[in-house]
Symmetry: D2
Subunit: 352 residues, 4 copies
């Protein structure tokens, strides 16, 4: 099998580095080009990207000459099929649209297009069928390519855990997060802000957690013209804690009818997926039975960082309510890995 050539938009940042790391040795994809701002263009990746991941910078990527985002649609890059986007919000919309117009499939981790009605917001184990929006999007926008997106890191962890519970009829969801600093990018959280501290605020995070899951857990409308949102409310409180990687979330789910602790556990345990691409974890949800798990340091790398760990499932004091803890790796399952998994599913389903 010839590998599919891919590029990374915004390759020097925190999520960009994760893309470069995770694409190294990928069985289906071959990293062909790295794109960043003018400032980095024309220089070797090793010289413009201060690598902060524990593993070494992949040798091939290190020697690549970074290209300007302006050159993303030049003929030199016409071999590329998929563009992974880790762009800063300020430039993401323009560049991603230009890429889609130029015929690329854009698999984006950026929030800017997520909630547009004709843009798929995908967690493959939940809603791969939402990829049907691609045709709508291409037609409506007159593009040769298209944009698909994955949700916000904290949304992915929660939404995956909600999926198996949907069968019982969810009425309300409350979530309190304890989020890792890597979610804010390399310079996002100064050490003086977070050492020996909790910051009970993350810009826009609660909005995302309250809106994105409803689209993801929604259903494709008859005509395929859009998504009908799931019919429950999410209310989020988001907080940053001194943890490097791994978001931990305390979740309360109120159901329409009574659900026991055992039923909820069974739902988590029984959850399977037909997604079998390279980055798909064997178990999207791992149920922990220990009284003090999941913990980010111990569980974030489960399923090579692609599994969400769920634990402390227990009936609460409220009627028809279950509470539990969910944990997932925010820059793997919650960002770069999510986009790569999405791209794999595009390939598996012949969208690329």
């Amino acid at each position: 099998m010839t590998k599919i050539k891919v590029g990374v938009l915004g390759a020097t940042g925190s999520v960009g580095q994760r893309f470069v790391q995770l694409l190294d040795g990928h069985p289906w994809f071959e990293l062909e080009s790295l794109f960043a701002s003018e400032r980095s263009a024309g220089k070797k990746y090793r010289d413009v990207s201060k690598w902060f991941l524990p593993s070494e910078m992949p040798a091939e990527a290190a020697e690549m000459v970074v290209q300007s985002l302006n050159d993303v649609d030049t003929s030199e890059n016409e071999d590329i099929a998929i563009m992974f986007s880790a762009l800063p919000g300020s430039v993401a919309s323009e560049v991603e649209k230009r890429c889609a117009q130029a015929g690329y499939c854009v698999a984006s981790n950026v929030s800017v297009h997520r909630m547009e009605p004709d843009v798929p917001l995908i967690i493959p184990e939940i809603n791969a069928d939402h990829l049907a929006l691609i045709e709508v999007q291409k037609e409506k926008r007159g593009w040769d390519g298209f944009i698909i997106t994955n949700p916000n890191c904290s949304t992915i962890v929660m939404a995956l855990s909600l999926k198996p519970l949907m069968r019982y009829g969810i009425k309300e969801v409350r979530v309190s997060t304890m989020q890792a600093v890597s979610g804010a990018g390399y310079a996002g959280v100064p050490s003086m802000a977070i050492l020996d501290n909790v910051i009970p605020f993350i810009e826009s995070e609660e909005d995302k957690m309250e809106s994105e899951p409803l689209k993801i857990l929604g259903t494709v409308e008859k005509e395929g013209s859009g998504i009908k949102n799931a019919a429950f409310n999410v209310c989020a409180s988001c907080h940053r804690v001194p943890v490097m990687d791994g978001h931990t979330e305390a979740i309360w789910v109120k159901f329409k009818e009574g659900v026991t602790e055992e039923e909820a556990k069974k739902a988590f345990k029984d959850f399977t997926t037909d997604i079998k691409t390279p980055f798909a974890p064997e178990k999207p949800i791992i149920l922990r039975e220990e009284q003090d798990r999941p913990q980010p340091r111990l569980d974030r790398d489960a399923g090579r960082g692609m599994s969400v760990s769920v634990g402390r499932v227990r009936a609460g004091r409220m009627e028809n309510e279950v509470k539990y803890i969910a944990q997932g790796h925010n820059t793997v399952r919650g960002a770069a890995g999510a986009s790569i998994l999405n791209a794999e599913v595009l390939v598996a389903r012949k969208y690329v």
Copy 2:
């Protein structure tokens, strides 16, 4: 005014040290004796207590010879009026009862007697009237002295913040905590357990948070024979984070009717107290208007550690619900300082 002589039971541990620190220079109380296990008895406090607070060990306490808990009721100690208890749960019940029988007023930070019907569980700004139980207790048990208690650290922070909201009719409370390591005592949380990590479990903590506030916010029954619990449910999820001092709590309060963000803020802002003893903070509740406060590192010492800071008050997505963040110093407001404030109120109201 002659100072009232006091003792500290369990003086060498984490909360014991806070008692010793906070009692140093107290305008009403004079630290007379320190009590600990057999192992420490007969030795100087400086030699048996590995001091871990930033300020120096008070010079007078340092030279005191620690007494055995067995000698708590000997004639040598008959000048003492108040015994502060920071005993480990295993021995607390027996020793505290012996002290009460011997005529001491026991102001205890320990959980063991908190929920007994004739034991006051006090946060003075909320329920100083519950001290009426003292007479019931003395009569029923035939003791010369008595036991009063303060709540668990995480309960105090939440209960204080709930008090001003009671006027609107609370229906349900959900709380997710991010608790400091000092709450578990000096050796309670190994660094290997918590560095770069969150532990989503604290033994018995959720039970305490779900039961204690209902007693505290309850009302003294007609005959003074007991407390009628407040009539709402609390559902807690408790978590440990890498923070030295200061518990942060994300709280959702559902009301019987609609309450606006502004009404909730006003309630917090208007909250005053008639408790005017030395340890009573000028403002039991400080409302922060910044979008990212309160934070434990910045707010735990507010009101010399005795104020609870509240912020991010906002209407949630759920009907009749407000969410906010509360923060308080767990070993000052939440433990030793709480017991001392209780004892001051005992004095002010002539119970001692």
Copy 3:
């Protein structure tokens, strides 16, 4: 006594905030003006300075309108006698010179002028006599005012500890630092860089530690025309650790002749000072006898942050060598507090 009016240059940064905090309520000085870059000029201090110190922003400073650095020498500011400088290196030289020319006494925490031959580099307990350079400076440069400086934070801690050992004849000094993140300013060390980590490099720090102490511990030359450096070598290795405040330094001192552990301890214990101004600590050096002190969390606030704590004094395995640990608060003793102490000595000795 009428208070002396002072200003702070670079008031919004990490050290600038410490100046504002420490000057609040100062018995001799009255904070008159705050200066910062164009971007902040014309706005209230509370609106342009993200306060990150545990105590509240002083109320008066909060309401001050920040002035542009360009306006530092306007007539509006002619009441000011002393300008404290916490400027970024890039603009410090020009602004400080302009201030000195305009007649201010500049007490600077910035490195740019420290090593100039006619600029006093002062730790008052060591070398207040170096203030004699002020006259040389004023004459040479034709300024009405002048510039004095305090050393780098890590230098101050070490130099203070070396002073009492000078009597034994120092031959060589090696120092390995474990420095707090606050030394790099608010955004200086990203949490992703330092959580669960050590960074064994701090830009220019080793150079400063190897050169500044020799000037400080040097002697004023006969004609008063300059400083004759102390005649030993310092070799430094500087490292950042996940600590908020307080630099810890492991120091080896090789002497010309044998010095015992007891002699070294005695030198530290006997060290006194005739500096008796408000910020001068009662004990510039506190000798700790515990086997595991000093520690930054426990000792940084000793002497209200102005004392250096020394401990673990012991003979090493090398001939004529003693090793020990020194610790001091890097933004109080090591920065803003150092400049304020210097300014106090200027006042006490009638230079202002």
Copy 4:
């Protein structure tokens, strides 16, 4: 090839868990038995060992029934050839001797026997020839088996880095460590002791760093009867920092003659080894050229945790002196991995 059966003494502690983790899937060794104190004996490993490593507890080990240390020499265990020892110091000597007498090869991480003249203290890339002491030991003690040891974690990192420099004639070594909390075992360092702090003292650590390297870098005496120590002095200052894994060491090496920065770098770069067993890293020493490396979070897992990273090599201010930073994984290269590598070399050289 039939795998060699091995046991782990002290299997439930911090280093014991690392043995169990690292032996899982080992190509030469098969984990046969786990030994611990009476308290754990007779129970499944999963039930007595609170696993705190990020990877899952190996499934086979989890189901093993832990044996008492008293039963280490029963016939049931006679298939075992090698006993890895992670015993607490208090029982190590007796149990290890009993094992050696019973015919096992004991590969010990414990300090108790390290400095005995007939016990090899081995870092294979340095002194595999010291294994010649085994015959001396067996004969002298009349044992069927024998004991070999690996050094203390902080010694291993330093000693490996010193080896290539030996060619230039080392005169003196000074070392300042910044050590990870895992070196003290799971409950060794309370979080209240180390959060936002440095502890400048580790029991016995400086003694070990000052004595062990001289034996390791020494030479087997003619008759093979013992080791002639290397002829230089080491002077250590040891400190604990808030890092999970990975010891960082600032090292000054004074040579008999001048050595340039380039010569030192070349020595590190050229260092190779003929040890080619499974746990031997391709490069025992990795030279980093970046100005801010090595760092524990980024470099501890280099060479699967078995490489020592060296960086910031630079001439100091002192004559004939070079300073640099060395970093290594304290529980892999510095403990369990060290013992396993030693055992592999025993096999490769037919001692087992």
